[in-house]
């Protein structure tokens, strides 16, 4: 039989292997892209610089010299690639052009906590609220409660995070003037561990947090409602009903089983949630990864763009793995090796 003694371990190892392979492919693409796209601005800058360096070596600025060195001009591509990987493994993602001479990694690390603080609680809150609403709708199927939840969820799920952010800024920040309109803390204050700063940061947190929670909630509600309705029609639910089990009890079993696919859904949605949060940061001038990426993009700071991608993709995969791990823990079929 195909049963092994440690199905959970095997499952997790397979996941890790897949993610490592995927990560290698993804970072390779990050490496190849600027070198392969015809007419890409980086290639043009480098070509101009290399001509300049032959005729007049002094004319090149220090930042550009670093750019040339780091993109390994003149070396064959496979040596460039080995350079890129071995440096990245040592935590060296190159030097930023627009923030020269600061290292890319030193620019990225301080902004990551801000993105995490915004993204994680908001995503989890949205997941819980959305699933609860969806379950309520399914339980009260075809009543006005169901119709109300479904219709509003359908519309809310289509509101882009950042546009909802704009509307919230306009109402609460500009019209009512009760909440700050931008940033993660007041200008002039320095992040520190005291109560005043905490309260200030909290006030700045409310709007970007709510815009992500509200717009992410609808999708979960729609999904859970469908899953619960399917599950209510399954044999075991009907059978329990015929046995005379109370509605509430049946519903509790059904709800738990319907949540399983939503856990996998959480892993898959992290990517789009991150994308949405990155742009929300731009709208709020919130000092996270998205805002840094935006500045890197507008100043064509390619080493920084490349570095942000290497980090972002890695964090997505790690998050993905954590969700899969959770899934394996709660789904007995995987735990006992009866998958497929």
């Amino acid at each position: 039989m195909g049963r092994t003694s440690r199905p959970l371990l095997k499952y997790l190892l397979r996941k890790i292997l897949f993610l490592i392979v995927t990560y290698v492919i993804a970072t390779t693409i990050v490496f190849i892209l600027p070198r392969a796209i015809p007419g890409n601005p980086l290639a043009q800058i480098l070509a101009r610089l290399s001509q300049l360096s032959i005729s007049n070596p002094e004319a090149i600025s220090a930042a550009n010299r670093t750019l040339m060195e780091e993109f390994g001009l003149g070396k064959p591509w496979y040596i460039q690639y080995v350079d890129f990987v071995s440096k990245a493994l040592r935590g060296d993602l190159g030097t930023s052009i627009s923030f020269y001479p600061r290292k890319v990694i030193d620019l990225i690390i301080p902004v990551i906590p801000w993105t995490l603080i915004l993204l994680l609680p908001a995503t989890i809150t949205a997941w819980i609220l959305g699933n609860t609403l969806g379950a309520i709708a399914a339980y009260k199927r075809n009543t006005w409660i169901d119709k109300g939840i479904l219709t509003s969820s359908l519309i809310i799920s289509q509101i882009p995070y950042y546009w909802l952010g704009m509307i919230l800024i306009f109402f609460f920040g500009v019209k009512l003037e009760i909440l700050p309109v931008q940033g993660a803390y007041s200008q002039g204050t320095i992040p520190s561990w005291n109560l005043n700063f905490f309260i200030d940061a909290l006030k700045h947190y409310i709007l970007p947090f709510s815009s992500i929670v509200i717009s992410a909630m609808g999708g979960w509600a729609i999904g859970t409602r469908l899953l619960v309705i399917y599950e209510l029609g399954s044999d075991y639910a009907l059978f329990s009903e015929y046995l005379g089990m109370s509605d509430k009890k049946v519903f509790r079993y059904v709800f738990r089983n319907s949540l399983l696919p939503q856990v996998t859904g959480l892993a898959l949605s992290l990517g789009s949630a991150l994308g949405g949060a990155l742009i929300t940061e731009i709208v709020f001038n919130y000092p996270g990864t998205g805002y840094l990426l935006f500045r890197a993009l507008t100043s064509l700071d390619y080493p920084l763009i490349q570095g942000i991608f290497v980090i972002l993709i890695a964090s997505i995969y790690i998050a993905n793995f954590l969700v899969d791990f959770m899934y394996a823990l709660i789904d007995p079929r995987i735990r006992l090796g009866q998958e497929d």
Partner: protein
């Protein structure tokens, strides 16, 4: 046959509502710029003036007419959405059916490829590619978006076809010596037609939303006006914090109205065609 297939839809209230809203915006995008002949890229009046009789939706920082921008924006965004959806649908169908029909190593390779793209956020891939293209036409943006949003569809198609293939009538066709292509076209494609159509609708949404995201981050089309470009201009000019609501509200409403009408259409189709959801 097609008419017969879609006929029950028009008895569904949800579908009628969704379809009417969507049709309204399609007409707005197609005919709006024809009838409202104001150039969206040229100064047409005072700077940043609120809605008035002359400019029903006001003007922006450069005195450009917002209504004209909106009409052209709806047109462009719908065009991008459709184009991206067609690309995604074609790739997804090919990958999904080949994986299901060929099985074995072809299936393994195709699904590994699909999973790799699925694990990497599609908007991130789009941002990465767009950042290296200095000139981005509207079609190019649609292509970038369409190339990466098909994986979930391919997986669903494969799963569905796998279950269809083990049915008797497919065995009979195989025994009758049908070629793979004939089998796919005659026996398999019809079974996924409604699902494909529903997914097509969602792909349009992905395209419209994706364009808006790319534009906001500064990587949208470099010529032409889309709903995303309008939002980007509004953000760049601090329209939100300066209270110029007529500038950033209309493009957002258009995006939400178009995408949620499409979602309602797809939900209604699910209700009509999916026996497990039909109300008893």
């Amino acid at each position: 046959m097609l008419f017969k297939m879609f006929k029950p839809l028009f008895k569904n209230k949800k579908f009628i509502i969704g379809f009417s809203i969507f049709a309204f915006f399609v007409i707005l995008g197609l005919l709006g710029p024809v009838f409202y002949k104001v150039n969206p890229t040229e100064m047409a009046g005072m700077f940043e003036s609120p809605p008035s009789r002359e400019h029903p939706l006001g003007t922006d920082t450069y005195g450009r007419d917002i209504l004209a921008q909106l009409l052209h924006g709806v047109r462009t965004s719908l065009y991008i959405g459709f184009l991206a959806a067609i690309i995604s649908l074609i790739i997804g169908t090919i990958v999904g059916t080949f994986a299901a029909v060929k099985r074995g190593i072809v299936d393994e390779v195709l699904m590994a490829f699909t999973n790799i793209i699925l694990t990497t956020p599609f908007i991130l891939i789009a941002i990465l590619i767009a950042s290296y293209l200095r000139v981005r036409s509207i079609e190019m943006v649609a292509l970038i978006l369409g190339l990466f949003q098909w994986p979930w569809f391919a997986r669903a198609i494969r799963a569905q076809l796998m279950s269809v293939i083990s049915r008797e009538y497919v065995y009979l066709s195989i025994m009758a010596g049908y070629s793979d292509l004939k089998l796919i076209v005659e026996d398999l494609i019809p079974t996924i037609a409604t699902y494909a159509f529903m997914s097509f609708v969602l792909f349009i949404n992905g395209g419209i939303m994706g364009e808006a995201s790319l534009s906001l981050i500064g990587l949208g089309p470099t010529q032409g006006i889309s709903l995303g470009i309008m939002l980007q201009w509004a953000v760049l000019m601090e329209a939100v914090r300066r209270g110029l609501w007529w500038w950033f509200v209309p493009p957002g409403i258009a995006i939400v109205a178009i995408t949620s009408s499409l979602l309602i259409i797809s939900t209604a189709m699910d209700e009509v065609f999916n026996p497990r959801l039909r109300e008893e």
